[in-house]
Symmetry: C2
Subunit: 443 residues, 2 copies
Amino acid sequence: MGMVVRDEVRKMKKVAPLVAAMSNEARCVALKKIAEKLVEKQSEIFAENQKDLAAAAENNVPDAVVKRLKFNEGKLNDVVAGIDMLINLEDPIGKITLDRELDEGLRLTRITCPIGVIGVIFEARPDALVQISSLCIRSGNCPVLKGGKETTFTNRILFSIIYDAVIEAGFPEGCMLACEQHNEIDELLKCDGLVDLLIPRGSNAFVRYIMDNTHIPVMGHADGVCHIYVDSEADFEKAIPIIIDAKTQYTAACNAVETLLIKRDDKIKNEFIPKLIDALSENNIQLRGTKEVTELVDAYYEKKAADNAGKLDYEAVDENEFKEYLALIVSAKFVDGVDEAIEHINLHGSHHTDAIITEDEAVADRFIRLVDSAGVYQNCSTRFADGFRYGFGAEVGISTSKIHARGPVGLEGLVTYKYKLVGHGQIVGDYASGKSEFHFKDL
Amino acid sequence: MGMVVRDEVRKMKKVAPLVAAMSNEARCVALKKIAEKLVEKQSEIFAENQKDLAAAAENNVPDAVVKRLKFNEGKLNDVVAGIDMLINLEDPIGKITLDRELDEGLRLTRITCPIGVIGVIFEARPDALVQISSLCIRSGNCPVLKGGKETTFTNRILFSIIYDAVIEAGFPEGCMLACEQHNEIDELLKCDGLVDLLIPRGSNAFVRYIMDNTHIPVMGHADGVCHIYVDSEADFEKAIPIIIDAKTQYTAACNAVETLLIKRDDKIKNEFIPKLIDALSENNIQLRGTKEVTELVDAYYEKKAADNAGKLDYEAVDENEFKEYLALIVSAKFVDGVDEAIEHINLHGSHHTDAIITEDEAVADRFIRLVDSAGVYQNCSTRFADGFRYGFGAEVGISTSKIHARGPVGLEGLVTYKYKLVGHGQIVGDYASGKSEFHFKDL
């Protein structure tokens, strides 16, 4: 396009307050129009998507990426369902979260409002473009969108359909912006003072690069080292499927489990470990355990006198080598109990999502209170950490920061607030001198 | 002290979850003990403060700074009153802000919790040390405190009294930390992964330095360019005292007014401008107006045939030269109406606090909706932007960021949340395959 990003973003900054002031109705009408137009123009969209798929085939793009960049009827139905869900959610804007009379005729109100201009840099997934745009429109924000280059054709038509729908619904010109060139990311990073928030999605290295090269606040997660702690009071019938689901259901996801912490306990060693070994090997999951763990695997196979066929792929590693694999590999070590598990997770985890498997409510409660992560789970898969599964309609990303939004970020993470103070000529001097006094009455 | 900051902060990181799990009662008991001990040991505190005052006199520290570093009975009473107020505020921790059944036996709860380890770097004001510590203890956070060097003696005794009180109340060792050496700030900035949030208070240059030299999230404001827009429907009897209060009540504060925007209107020019000229000159406030403004001042004095005695100090400047003065200087320019005022504020302001003076509710409403600032005021002084005046008990600072807390930051800005998900063995695979389905029931 050859546009100068800063100039376009500066124009967007001017219209952002107008978008912020759009009524709930206008925002919902815009979403309805988007959904209608996407369905209406589906054959054109699919045709553009074919061009991206052809280019991907030519460039030997990996299968996993091709799968994500395909945009078919199934994915169209999903994004349209997501838009319907967003329309039905409560308006996140204009909520009064504090209403206080500071003194007679001096009233303070805190009101939620959009953040403003939000830059989202996301992977090669056309459905992500629709979801992110919809979330921003629903919450009165102006998005600057940069998708993966493998989806250039699909993104271009999707953006143009969405932009037309939004303008038809009465939104101001320039309320959405699409970047296509990779160098435009660096231009965007320099737009501090104009862009209010950046949401990068992608590899650790990419998110770190963004964080290190901008003064704009960044929301995102750099790592997803998720843990499952198997307690002595675990129900093994739950533990095994949860571990397998958390590792295999979407191995490359940030909420996939990477490390198993297991209570050092005879029942566990005698009954759970054999089940775990079989389950891991059946699912082609490699085990990288501490020596204490792998010696049990040795003993298990020795006792079974198993040959190599169907045997677990395992090796002993030092626990300092445990890391985020994003592959069919899981680390494991024994711990003395829930407190050691908590300490390990808080020091070595990434504060994303960590689970305990136990039927002991007191132990579960301790784990949930003391583990310092965005998601603390009992008896379910870490893979549930996701905006759609939380009922948020969609998500713009998952945050492991403790500042602003934490965990899967839906509409609420795209909202800030302002303080409105309405008086009748009050001055601070009168309160400093004692002539007037605050009475702080919540209304 | 010669301590290695990173080692101490690493220990703190380990105890932070224990502090986070302290009961509301335990946190309130700690605050009561702090207040009691401060009163009990007041003569010792005042004696240490005398040492700081003596050093300040020797080093020719400016009067304004000396005034802030003095800690006397009046300031002691204020901080003790602040602690009492904090005790009586609702517990910010453990609030359930979402409670949703995702499916039968799969319950999601969002619970507020402390942020963890918070580094606060603040100016030479002993009362700030007490306020910040109290806010952190009330909200279950572990503070790392670095105060101005001019208050070394006072801060040392205050910290030791507060720390002893907190330990006596059952808090774990190492839950609070004081830095005394300036180089320890740079050590603190490198503690990413251990410190969850930095709150720098001080000059623009200092806050910028912190933001540019750390990967830890920073909450704060770098500028305070606050505006007052005087509308044609302004009540001049309110406008003049508000402008004078906003400029003079505490000139060096970030919420002091810096720029006046005035409706270009005959009534304003004939009636308001003369009142403004007299009020500014009476209060020794220098005016840096656009030519259109200063020509009116010329005309006013010409008509009055005034000599130089008591005459306003004024000069014509280009509006690009308007800035944060933090002194008895105010900028002024005419605008065509509320929309031009809004555009000027959004592009040239610092999103801190901006006020409109008008009796026209529709115009006020437009201003309040479209001005993109933490505080949007009608008919009152910008100086009200303050945690104490908002009824927050105290503040750790004022944020102009739109991420996380915005405006004066009290307890709520020191809080994040976690998602707790309790299941009975649920796995994501079953929802992906359609075997199970979410039903999203808010409880």
